[in-house]
Amino acid sequence: MNTSQKNLHDRKLESLASAYRNEGYVVLTSPTAGAIPFDLDGYSPDLVAMKDDAGLIIEVKASASGISVDRLQWLAQEISTHAGWRFLLLTLEDVDTLNIPLTPDGFPTWSQLLTKLKQVERLIGDDALEPAVLYLWSVFEGAMRKRAIEQLIPVDRLPSLALLNHMYSQGEISVTKIDFFRDFMGKRNRIAHGANMTMTQHQAQAFLDSVSDLLSEWTSIEARQVS
């Protein structure tokens, strides 16, 4: 981490600590491993925020590069075994930290997401393709972040491309679909940035079908895990 990144990192830690203190948490910055109420194999995070019997263990990275998602996933799984405790990975590149929910409950339910897909279908039927693609992307991105939190893959706050890539590398998206979703993202970005985009109803429908299939897969896995 260079000096500039270190300064940004320190400022991020200070602002997080202040935000959690204002929410009534007891906050420890750069605690020793012994200050955490359970053993995490010597791991010491950047920040711990505790309230009642619950808490947040927070790791702040300068960037999404060089993150060992597998190692952090192990930590997330270990921490989740302690009731009320959660693990958060933040990077200085995170999207809109304050507005990304901390828990799956902060996102629409799976059922609500499936309802939104029906609204996308109506937009495509009305040939409102650009609004359809923008809305479909928001459903897709929300579903990925929700799924990441549920599966304890600590990438739920990363920028969209890093999120998509890690969800693929962690096996949540198939190798047969990843290029298709990247293409979808590219088209969505062109529209979001105000560029011209030529698209057919058939293409928009194909994006919708792929997102629908993925959500069906995730919700059916979810149902099996619950039962």
Binding site: S63, A64, S65, G66, I67, S68, V69, D70, R71, Q73, Q151, L158, L161, A162, N165, H166, Y168, S169, Q170, G171, E172, I173, S174, V175, T176, I178, I221
Partner: protein
């Protein structure tokens, strides 16, 4: 044996995934890419200690280098070697696309992978060497 090399033109999948179906899809994809380069009339290697070298050309949010090795090795069983027990030596290397990569003395296939400009994995299988050559 004649060294065997091939390029996987995709970002790799981690061994750690809980989704067995997508991990299997990844292995099938790797096997298909290897099969394009493996001579049709050549039988899998069965009788020598092998070295597996992997170079992952990655973007700024890479998969873990240590967890991408096993699925790639698994995908080559029955095609390139009869059993992955034959692989006695493994080395894996990660290089970022966003940083300069000196390609001067790299194998031409790997040079092509770097020039490709997208994430990819170069794989080389050859005879294991004497230990002192590595140390």
């Amino acid at each position: 044996m004649e060294p065997f090399e091939f390029l996987i033109p995709k970002r790799p999948v981690s061994l750690q995934t809980k989704n067995r179906k997508n991990l299997q899809a990844w292995k099938s994809y790797v096997r298909a890419e290897a099969a394009k380069a493996w001579p049709q009339d050549r039988r899998p290697i069965s009788s020598t200690a092998l070295r597996c070298s992997i170079v992952y050309i990655c973007d700024n949010s890479p998969a873990d280098i240590d967890n991408i090795i096993k699925p790639i090795q698994d995908a080559l069983v029955g095609l390139v070697f009869e059993d992955d027990f034959l692989v006695s030596d493994v080395d894996s290397h990660r290089r970022f696309l966003s940083e300069p990569i000196d390609v001067t003395f790299l194998p031409s296939l790997l040079q092509g992978g770097v020039a490709y400009g997208n994430e990819c994995v170069y794989v080389k299988i050859c005879n294991a060497q004497h230990l002192e050559n590595y140390l």
